[in-house]
Structures are given as structure tokens and as C-alpha cells.
């Protein structure tokens, strides 16, 4: 790069964010490998944001590849399908890919090895279908946001009905270090991704698509440019490599200059964001009639012998993938996702879910964390925060349990991207502070709601009791009056009778 280019490049870098060592190569350059079919697959019922799927099969039942095994329930949910043909051997609990290590429900399938697929009917020209039909097909295929948010894609596509979508942003940012599954999708399935983008444009009514790809992936940019050259409405937009560029609000701002208001969704400003892998999944769902059965997972980290990207069925155990890639040493820490936002895995016997972009096996050197020191108020956290928050002030408030003070500083706007904790020279675990405070505030809010409900009930009871007393008093008074009237009447009639008697006797 020439001097002028370097200078111009510096100018385009946004003020926020960090630039961690990306560790993407050599894993990104290794050819895509396919995992030999594992003997057992553990398909969780909840792999998306929303309600878990409801099992539609019974233990002992034979299923075909692509057969529905869990139906979506509720407005925001997604179905799940058998990633391969075989027998349902259990519907029960297994360890969730979450730091807590708590169990969650999954359907266990013993593969028969035939990979016998279910008959699929495919529309000859999907562009002749209505946007609603496309959305329904995507919903039926169980496609969710594969960038990690796992929001059901059909719900997102249906937003086009409610608000006018002008721009579809295709997220090829992949700003997390170590991960390269989206890079691989763009390099190996460029034409499919572009087709998926066109289908999503059709479904949402978006007039243009902006493909945002970080400039540290020149091969992917070249492949996508080649695939998109026939479609002028799809514009390739390389963006500076800057974490968290792949975060939707940051990418929207970088590509369109629009800022999503803090109380709105992207759709409210006429934009929706979808990941490149999601576009690929939409293509497969519509063109091949194939539900979301497998995904590309990056296996990387210092403890991995052959880092790279592996195409694996949903429900594969992380341990199967690690065994396939080979371990150089005992991993010091296992992560699902990237190092900036990924979750620690309690152990490797957890299944791959739809939103799992990678499994990282890090060695001791990679996770070395110096002891936290006092804040020196250097303000680096403030300058890197992509949201414009003051992490050091929020942390100072949280440290003395002034959670409302932290909330007033904008805690609820924090996206937990980890830039502040990454850059902190005192190594203060800022994200941990914020996660703690958010949880605490949430439970306080719940407690307050419960208290309010109890207060309301108590007030209602008092009112009811008062009303009852009042009504009783009124009733008593009424009865008394009635009795008095009766007595008076009786007395009167008695008097009258007496008078009459007197008259007759006279």
C-alpha cells in the first residue's frame, strides 16, 4: 500500500472499536472440510431467540434427513429438522453450550449412515412467488440468523410488510478474531450467497443490497464481486477491519450513515441486516428445499492441530469436531464463538447449534490474564466504546452498588462487545461488571413488578373489605329501618284494631 493509500485508509477508520490480532489465518485459508457423519446427533429444541420448538416425533421413530422433528411454537420461534436419517433414541436433557453447564432439551438421533433425505418440492421460479410465500418457506426451513444472534429469519423478513425496507445489508463483517466461517462461505459459495441475497430482497421489497465485508478478507471480496457483477442492485462495500464492525448498528452506520434510534430496530429506519451464511441458508431452503441441517464451523485456537473450517451437521458434539481437527495440547479454555463475545463451554460434550460460528480451543498463553489493577482513568474504554458510553464511570458506580447511577449513564445501551475490557491497561473485567449490573437491575425490576402486583392486590383487598363493611352497614341500616317500619306498621294496625274493637264494643 502506498503512503497516500495508507493515509486515506487511516482516515476511513472509525473512531470507535479496537483492532485485536485477528488470528484468522491459516484457518481461513485451509480448504473447507466435511466432517464424517457422527454416530449420534443431539439436536437442541432451543437454538434460536424465542420459544423452543415442540418435539413432533417419538422415541424409537425412524426419521429421514430433513424431516421435521420439532415444530415452531409461538410467534417468535423456529422449527428443527433431522440433520440426517436414523432413529430417535432419546428426547431428553443434555448440557447446553453455555458457561453455566445447565441442561436443556434435545432430541438424540442415532444416524443410520444412509443420509436418506425427505422428498423436497421446489418452486421452478422462486421470484414468481409472493414475498409472503418466500417468508413462509424460510420459516418452514428453520432458518435463523447465523451470525450468532439466531433471530428467526422469517420474522425479520416479514418486517417488510410492516415498514418499508429500502436497504438489505448483508453482513460479511466477521469482525471476531479467529473466526472465518463467513469468509469461507463467501469464498466457496459466493453465487449461492448472492442468490440468497436476491431472494431476501424479493421477500422484503428492498431496492438495494449492500454487502459489507471487512477489508481483511480480500479473497472473499474478490469472489463476491465476481458473483455479484450481474446484479447492479447488489453493491459490494468493503469496510475497515475494526471490531465490532459486524455489530448491526455499527455496520448500518458505516454503510448508510443512518443511526438506529436506541428504542428502535433497524427496520424502523428502513434497513434489515442479514448475515452471509443466513443468505446461503435461504438460498438452500428456497432453491433446494433443504432445511437448515448443517453449518460451517471454524475450529481454531492454539490447542488445535489442524485449524480450519468444517461443514458439520447441527447437533454434532464439539468433542467430535475437536477430535477431527486434532488437539496439540489439552485446551486451557473452550469457547463457542469468538474470543471477544464467545461463551466458555463447560466441557466438549455439547452440541453445535445453528448459531455456532466456531469452537475455539485456546491454550494457556492465549488466555493469560494479568491481575486487575485500579482504574487509572486513562479513558481508553471511552474512546473505543462503539456506543459512546463511559465504561469507567459505569464501573465506578457499579463498584459501590449504585446501579441506578450506572443505568443513568446508559448501561442498558451497552452491547457487551468487550472493547473496553480488551483495551483496559488495568485489565479490569468491565464486561463482567456490566453483565452483573444488568442482571441485578433486571431482577430488581422483576422484584419491583412483583411488589407492585402485591401492593395492588393488597389495595384491592382493603378496598373490597371496606366495601363489604360499608355494604353490610348499609344492609344492616336498611334492615333496621325495615324492622322499624314493620314495627310501626304493626303498632299502627294494632292501634287501629284496638280502636275498631273499642268502636264495636261501644
Amino acid at each position: 500500500m502506498g503512503l497516500i493509500e495508507t493515509f486515506l485508509h487511516t482516515l476511513t477508520i472509525p473512531g470507535w472499536g479496537v483492532h485485536p490480532d485477528d488470528h484468522k489465518r491459516p484457518a481461513a485459508d485451509a480448504p473447507l472440510r466435511t466432517l464424517p457423519l457422527p454416530t449420534r446427533l443431539y439436536v437442541p429444541l432451543l437454538q434460536h431467540v424465542g420459544q423452543p420448538a415442540r418435539p413432533t416425533v417419538l422415541v424409537g421413530q425412524k426419521v429421514l434427513q430433513g424431516q421435521l422433528i420439532g415444530a415452531a411454537q409461538g410467534r417468535i420461534s423456529a422449527p428443527i429438522h433431522a440433520p440426517t436419517s436414523g432413529t430417535i433414541v432419546a428426547i431428553g436433557e443434555i448440557t447446553a453450550p453455555h458457561p453455566s453447564g445447565l441442561p436443556f432439551s434435545a432430541i438424540t438421533i442415532e444416524a443410520d449412515g444412509d443420509e436418506h433425505a425427505i422428498e423436497a418440492s421446489v418452486a421452478a421460479d422462486p421470484f414468481a412467488l409472493s414475498p409472503e410465500e418466500i417468508t413462509e418457506l424460510v420459516a418452514a426451513a428453520g432458518v435463523v440468523g447465523l451470525g450468532g444472534a439466531t433471530f428467526p429469519s422469517s420474522v425479520k423478513l416479514a418486517l417488510g410488510k410492516r415498514t418499508k425496507i429500502t436497504t438489505l445489508i448483508v453482513n460479511g463483517g466477521e469482525c471476531e478474531p479467529y473466526l472465518s466461517c463467513d469468509d469461507r462461505v463467501m469464498r466457496d459459495f459466493a453465487a449461492d450467497v448472492i442468490d440468497g441475497v436476491r431472494l431476501m430482497m424479493h421477500a422484503t421489497g428492498a431496492g438495494e443490497a449492500l454487502l459489507g465485508i471487512e477489508d481483511n478478507k480480500p479473497e472473499a471480496i474478490a469472489a463476491m464481486r465476481k458473483a455479484a457483477r450481474l446484479f447492479p442492485e447488489i453493491k459490494l462495500r468493503p469496510v475497515p477491519s475494526r471490531y465490532p464492525m459486524g455489530s448491526d448498528r455499527q455496520l448500518i452506520q458505516t454503510l448508510t450513515g443512518k443511526e438506529v434510534p436506541s428504542d428502535c430496530r433497524a427496520a424502523d429506519v428502513g434497513v434489515i441486516v442479514n448475515n452471509v451464511s443466513t443468505a446461503n441458508a435461504v438460498h438452500r431452503a428456497i432453491r433446494l428445499g433443504e432445511p437448515l441441517l448443517r453449518r460451517i464451523v471454524t475450529i481454531n485456537g492454539g490447542a488445535i492441530w489442524q485449524p480450519g473450517n468444517i461443514l458439520a451437521p447441527i447437533g454434532t458434539l464439539a468433542s467430535d469436531l475437536l477430535a477431527f481437527a486434532g488437539l496439540k495440547s489439552e485446551p486451557a479454555r473452550l469457547l463457542m464463538g469468538g474470543p471477544m463475545m464467545g461463551a466458555v463451554l463447560p466441557h466438549a460434550k455439547v452440541p453445535i447449534v445453528k448459531g455456532c460460528a466456531g469452537i475455539l480451543a485456546l491454550n494457556e498463553d492465549e488466555i493469560a490474564t494479568p491481575a486487575a489493577g485500579p482504574c487509572i482513568r486513562c479513558g481508553k474504554c471511552t474512546s473505543v466504546c462503539p456506543i459512546g458510553l463511559l465504561p469507567l464511570e459505569m464501573a465506578a458506580n457499579i463498584r459501590v452498588d449504585n446501579l441506578d447511577g450506572a443505568a443513568a449513564l446508559g448501561l442498558s445501551d451497552c452491547i457487551a462487545c468487550g472493547c473496553c475490557a480488551y483495551i483496559c491497561p488495568s485489565h479490569i473485567p468491565l464486561v463482567q461488571y456490566f453483565t452483573h449490573a444488568k442482571g441485578e437491575l433486571w431482577s430488581q425490576q422483576r422484584g419491583k413488578l412483583r411488589l407492585d402486583a402485591a401492593k395492588r392486590l393488597a389495595a384491592e383487598r382493603t378496598e373490597r373489605l371496606e366495601r363489604e363493611t360499608r355494604e353490610k352497614a348499609i344492609a344492616a341500616a336498611k334492615r333496621k329501618a325495615e324492622r322499624a317500619a314493620q314495627k310501626a306498621a304493626q303498632a299502627a294496625s294494632a292501634e287501629l284494631a284496638a280502636t275498631e274493637t273499642t268502636e264495636t264494643t261501644q
Binding site: P20, C264, M340, V344, P346, E366, P374, S383, I423, V431
Partner: protein, 365 residues
């Protein structure tokens, strides 16, 4: 799979850290002071070397004593390098031939009363080195205003180690023979005697003298060009950002330019202001102190412009010829206020914190 992973509390993201650390930052800052310090040693000889040494040692001693008294662990806190830097910066701002006890008292005052009584690094409101310097200036005005002309260590008339040690222990003998006012002090005295700048400074030009080092002052003043060079290295290393140095220099340069244009016989020119006293040290090393400067860029600009402007005001109309230390301390006091009222705008919200208007954002293209 080892079982330790199961029982240990799950570490939270991020699992990657930048390779910076507090001690790395402090030691880098100290390293950029080395050329200016060595140049000062060469110009002022053994008394200056001994004074630097004792000031730094006193600052470290104050730090260690405070940490021990507070019952904390010494090694990690001392190794952050901040006490070393505080002592170093103080030494660069002292008259180079000051007696030993100036360095001892100043160094101890800086770390104990300037920093540790507040709770240690990160908690002090004022820049420790400047607190100590102002304390010394007010308490010992005679010793703190005795300046000598530079006498390179290689020169025949320069004190040898033994003579240097005597000056260090007993103070300067035959004061009148060697003392020499700083440019700012000289200009102020002459003006008060009714001699205007055209006449009093006919022989002295600040930029020329700064280049050759032929001007009296503290180590940081005489070597101000090397201090500025060190500051540029800090900028290149991204340890400091441009906001504070630029705003502080501008805060002095703008009023100086205007006043000098109006009356050159009364007001010093811009170059003299920028290269004299502690301006370069202040702009690049003192005002940029993380702990005592605002957190936001806008806050830093206001803070540093205030430092510069107050320096100019004190120099021009105040009782002291130099005002960087006072100006920085005054603006340090304002830092919490600046931080309170100048907060960055949150993404998706306006400056008042209310969500942006979706229709306005939608209309952007």
C-alpha cells in the same frame, strides 16, 4: 478434560486482551523523557544528576511507605512505574542546582500527599508532580527561584563530582556569581523596572537559545525541544492523543499572538511563550496525565485550552513569571466538573439522552 474447568467460575468474555498495561505505559513515558534528561544532565552537570536521583528515590520511598502503611502489597503497585514517573517529572521541573532536601521533600510530598492519601493511583485529583512543585515554590520561594546558566559538564568551569556534591549538599556558594534569571523571569523583572521588551530582550531569542541550550531554567525548560520530541513519540505510540497538547499550546499561542501584535514592547511573542518555562513538559507530559485529565476528547480540549490560557494569564498579569503548574492544578480541579457535564453522545440517542427520531434517520441515504 480436566475437572478444574468444571469447578472454576466461568471466565467471561472477552478472552483476548490488548498487550498494553499500566507499567508498560508509564515506562514508555519515562523512556521518552530520557533524551531530554540526558541533555539536561550534560548542561547542568553533577548537581543536576544528583538532584534527579534523590527526587526519584524520594518519590519511590514515599510510595513504598504509603503502600506499607495502608497494608497493601508493595510489589505490583510499585512496579506500575507511576511513582518513578512522578519523581522524574518533578525533578525536570526543579531548578537544577537545588539542594538535596528540595528533592527529598518534593519527592515525598508528591507521592504521599499528592497521590497516596487519596488512595493511590487513579484516585488523586491533582497531578502529584505539580502539587509538589507548587508546594515547594510557595514554601521555599528563594531556593525554588535560583536558576543557573547552563555550564556543560565538559566545560572547564563546570563543577567536578566533588564540587557538584558540595553544591548538592550545601547549596550554591557565591550565588551571585552563577545565578541567572530565566527568560520569563528576566522579562518580568525588567518590565517592572520600566524597561520594555524591545530593549530587555534585544540579545535573547527563545527559539535560537532553545536550540543551543544556552538558556537557564529547569531541565525541562532548557531541553524543551527534546521534551517536545519525546511528546511526539508518545503521540506516535498512541499513549497520548493530540487533543491535550494541541489545545494547550493553542491556549497559550492564540492570546500571545494577539497581545504581541497589539503591543510587542509589552507582550512576549508566541515562540518565546511556547519554548519557555514548563509549557512543553506541561503540554505533553503533565496535562496529559490520565488520572487528572478529563475522559472525553471534547473535555480534554476544553481542559487543555484552559491550562494554556491560564498559563498565559498568570505569566502576563500574575505575580509569578511562570504559571504552568498553577494552571494545570486549577484545571485539574475542574476535571470532575468537565467529566460530569461533557459526556459523549450515546449511539442512537441525542445529546440529552433521548432516542433519535426514526423518521429523520430513515430519510438519510
Amino acid at each position: 478434560m480436566n475437572t478444574a474447568l468444571l469447578t472454576a467460575p466461568p471466565p467471561t468474555a472477552p478472552h483476548a486482551l490488548a498487550s498494553n498495561g499500566v507499567s508498560r505505559i508509564m515506562l514508555s513515558v519515562a523512556a521518552t523523557l530520557v533524551p531530554a534528561t540526558l541533555y539536561g544532565f550534560w548542561l547542568y552537570g553533577w548537581p543536576a544528576i544528583l538532584l534527579w536521583l534523590i527526587t526519584v528515590l524520594a518519590a519511590l520511598l514515599g510510595e513504598v511507605a504509603s503502600i506499607k502503611l495502608a497494608g497493601r502489597v508493595t510489589a505490583p503497585e510499585l512496579s506500575d512505574g507511576s511513582a518513578l514517573l512522578t519523581g522524574w517529572l518533578l525533578a525536570l521541573s526543579l531548578p537544577p542546582w537545588s539542594p538535596w532536601w528540595i528533592g527529598v521533600v518534593g519527592g515525598l510530598f508528591a507521592t504521599i500527599l499528592g497521590k497516596q492519601v487519596f488512595g493511590g493511583i487513579g484516585f488523586n485529583l491533582f497531578n502529584p508532580a505539580m502539587v509538589a512543585r507548587v508546594f515547594l515554590l510557595i514554601s521555599f520561594p528563594v531556593q525554588m527561584t535560583v536558576w543557573v546558566a547552563p555550564l556543560p559538564i565538559t566545560a572547564a568551569a563546570a563543577p567536578d563530582f566533588h564540587q557538584g556534591l558540595m553544591i548538592f549538599i550545601n547549596g550554591i556558594p557565591k550565588l551571585d556569581a552563577v545565578s541567572s534569571a530565566t527568560l520569563l523571569g528576566f522579562a518580568k523583572t525588567e518590565w517592572s523596572r520600566g524597561i520594555d521588551l524591545m530593549h530587555s530582550l534585544a540579545a535573547a531569542t527563545a527559539p535560537g537559545n532553545s536550540l543551543t541550550g544556552a538558556r537557564s531554567g529547569s531541565l525541562g525548560e532548557t531541553a524543551s525541544l527534546l521534551i517536545a520530541a519525546g511528546g511526539l513519540v508518545l503521540l506516535a505510540l498512541r499513549i497520548i492523543s493530540w487533543h491535550i497538547p494541541v489545545a494547550m499550546l493553542a491556549g497559550i499561542a492564540l492570546p500571545a499572538a494577539i497581545a504581541h501584535a497589539v503591543d510587542p514592547t509589552r507582550y512576549l511573542d508566541v515562540a518565546t511563550h511556547l519554548l519557555s518555562g514548563g509549557v512543553m513538559l506541561g503540554a505533553f507530559f503533565i496535562a496529559t496525565d490520565y488520572v487528572t485529565s478529563p475522559n472525553t476528547k471534547l473535555g480534554q480540549l476544553i481542559f487543555a485550552a484552559g491550562c494554556g490560557f491560564l498559563t498565559y494569564v498568570i505569566r502576563t498579569w500574575g505575580g509569578y513569571p511562570e504559571g504552568v503548574a498553577f494552571a494545570v492544578l486549577l484545571m485539574n480541579a475542574l476535571t470532575p466538573v468537565i467529566d460530569r457535564y461533557l459526556r459523549p453522545r450515546i449511539l442512537g440517542r441525542n445529546w440529552r439522552g433521548a432516542p433519535l427520531d426514526a423518521d429523520v434517520e430513515r430519510a438519510k441515504s
